[in-house]
């Protein structure tokens, strides 16, 4: 379960008195079903960008990846006299029928669930991914820890193996009840933790789960949680455990993590029967459509204001593969467009003449007079067959498709604008340009824009307003997470590794948000039944209005579970 944001005074107060809901461990597997279904229906080649992304998502779980591969090759795609057919084969249908017959028979003994869980924190063996489309150049490094440039290109989705017979609190394994266990812990304080730090936070928890024979299966994911207007990167911890699982022992592990990472509070929770003393309710709600980070943040704010909740977290499923994003593992480079642009503008070694820098470090020559850049960046639209040289949207489109970085090096400030994750070559070249020509530049800024297509034109020489608003200006966000990625130096030497490390902390934001995992009713344990019901109705009314006003679609009604929650606070418990 992604934790509500711990470390916030209000949350401390809140969680001290409320129960916490959460999703069961097998939920992750369930979440994969739409993806699998989409692949079943898709005749597309596995090499296209979206499917590459899916493959990347599923790489952590080789079993699942194999399943997808099988479905998209042998099972889903067949050849008939009418050509290639996307759909189940006769023999597969027969096999499914037999499987259903087996499933529908009264169970004699539940199967032993599989325990291993796949997660891809850095301590795990590296799993090979598709090579990046651009050349990699080693950066100067001062790190004492290994470079994680490969890891940051991996999506942070953690899934577990299928575990039949586990159905939340009512599940039985050999006649015994299987419980859900969740925990909330974050390593974030002043800065957003990198993937490496997330891994360090997760490692002892993972070890504990592996060693405890009461743990049936588990997942530890990389997620974010929200409380009020604040978002923190945190761990998504879920486990299915046998009845003798000791929640207090698990709590000790979580407390130790909180202590090491200097957190104000952490909690553990276990699903309990309705008549468990102190049991509380936790709701979860699925969205009808996936949200991007920015939308999720808006919802976070509105929910906090209107629904009077004490905290909630988002369900995270997927990477955001639409549009441009600095958080994407890697943009797919349009080689033809790159070639066209180079052919049209030529290349230059002088940055003051350059309009864009391509992923391989080549710079497009935007100087017609031969002295400095005198051609508007937006004119790159001509390369794409467009005629509009006023709108910024085509320029961003070009940047997205080619991985180009927009350069302004013809002034005393070296400015580079990114609309996607840069290559190491680009970063190194820009930093070298600044460091080796200190007499030319007062400062260097690397900014990030995520443009929205199809909006109006901006003023001459200025980014269009809509793009600016939609963009992630990491310096202006009140949300803490992206602030770590912005880089600016005035006078001092720039460091490419520092910039790369800042990008590492942003990868969690490239996910999509599919629901809210827990909606906690404030002060549940300190109020009467009637007051609790009143709070639930208040939540219900506000959620209804909120859903209507935002146009947010929801799937089905909320789901309720009952939890026994233990909150640990700094100074009191550790």
């Amino acid at each position: 379960m992604p934790a509500p944001i711990l470390g916030l005074p209000l949350l401390l107060q809140a969680i001290a008195t409320i129960g916490v809901g959460g999703a069961v461990g097998y939920k992750a597997q369930k979440d994969l079903q739409p993806v699998i279904k989409a692949l079943k229906n898709s005749p597309e080649d596995m090499g296209n960008s979206e499917l590459k992304m899916l493959r990347a998502l599923l790489l952590p779980n080789q079993a699942v990846a194999q399943e997808l591969k099988d479905m998209t090759t042998s099972k889903s795609v067949g050849t008939t006299g009418d050509g290639t057919v996307i759909g189940p084969r006769i023999e597969d249908i027969e096999k499914q029928k037999k499987d259903f017959e087996i499933i529908l028979k009264p169970p004699t003994r539940a199967p032993e669930p599989a325990k291993p869980v796949i997660e891809i924190f850095p301590d795990q063996p590296k799993i090979k991914q598709d090579p990046p489309v651009q050349p990699e150049v080693d950066l100067e490094t001062k790190e004492s820890f290994p470079d994680l440039s490969e890891e940051i290109n991996k999506p942070q989705i953690f899934e577990q193996k299928e575990s039949k017979g586990i159905m939340g609190t009512n599940s039985q394994e050999g006649g015994k009840i299987i419980k859900d266990v969740t925990a909330g812990v974050s390593g974030q304080k002043d800065t957003v933790p990198s993937l490496l730090e997330q891994g360090a936070l997760a490692k002892p928890i993972k070890d504990f789960f592996n060693e405890d024979d009461q743990v049936v299966n588990y997942k530890i994911g990389d997620t974010i949680g929200a409380y009020g207007g604040t978002v923190e990167r945190s761990l998504d911890i879920e486990a299915n455990v046998k009845p003798d699982f000791n929640i207090d022992t698990f709590g000790e592990v979580i407390k130790e993590r909180a202590k090491q990472f200097n957190q104000d509070a952490v909690f553990v929770a276990e699903s309990v029967p309705a008549d468990f003393e102190g049991a509380n309710v936790g709701f979860s709600l699925d969205f009808g459509s996936d949200l991007k980070m920015k939308d999720a943040l808006n919802i976070s704010d509105q929910l906090s204001e209107t629904a009077q909740l004490d905290g909630f977290t988002f369900k995270i499923k997927n990477l955001d593969t639409s549009g441009s994003s600095i958080y994407l593992p890697q943009n797919i480079i349009d080689a033809d467009l790159t070639e066209k642009a180079i052919k049209r503008y030529g290349v230059t070694d002088e940055i003051n003449k350059a309009g864009f820098m391509m992923p391989d470090g080549q710079m497009l020559n935007f100087s017609r007079n031969g002295n400095v850049r005198d051609t508007e960046h937006r004119r790159v639209n001509l390369t794409m067959g467009g005629s509009d040289v006023n709108d910024f949207a085509p320029m961003y489109d070009f940047m997205n498709k080619t991985g180009a970085i927009r350069l302004t090096g013809n002034a005393n400030r070296l400015y580079a604008e990114l609309s996607a994750k840069p290559s190491n070559t680009q970063l190194k070249k820009i930093v070298d340009e600044y460091n080796n020509n200190r007499e030319k530049y007062d400062s260097m800024i690397i900014s990030i824009t995520v443009p929205e297509k199809g909006k109006g034109s901006g003023q001459f020489g200025q980014p269009k307003i809509e793009a600016q608003e939609k963009g992630i200006d990491l310096r202006k966000q009140d949300y803490r997470l992206p602030n770590e990625a912005f880089y600016e130096v005035h006078g001092e030497k720039a460091n490419a590794t520092d910039i790369l490390n800042k990008f590492k902390s942003t990868d969690v934001a490239g996910k999509t948000f599919t629901g809210i995992r827990q909606l906690n009713i404030p002060n549940f344990s300190n109020i009467s039944d009637a007051e609790a019901l009143k709070k639930i109705r208040n939540l219900q009314n506000n959620m209804g209005e909120f859903i209507e006003s935002t146009g947010l679609k929801t799937l089905d009604k909320p789901k309720t579970k009952f939890y026994n929650t233990k909150l640990y606070t700094k100074g009191k418990d550790y």
């Binding site: 369930k30 759909g87 509380n280 309710v281 709701f283 109020i527 039944d529 789901k559």
Partner: protein
Amino acid sequence: MATVKGLYDLIKKEQAEGKPIGMFEQSIIDAFEADKGDKKTKEVDVSFVKNKDETN
């Protein structure tokens, strides 16, 4: 102190009185009754993949 059962009883009482039940309340009822009930069924997910050739 509120309890799950107390909450459930209250919702059911109001429901019996004819008061409308919202989705969150219904969710609590469902979860409570599932918890207390002797389940004879289990959830299964079934997906149907239509052979695209049939649409041609």
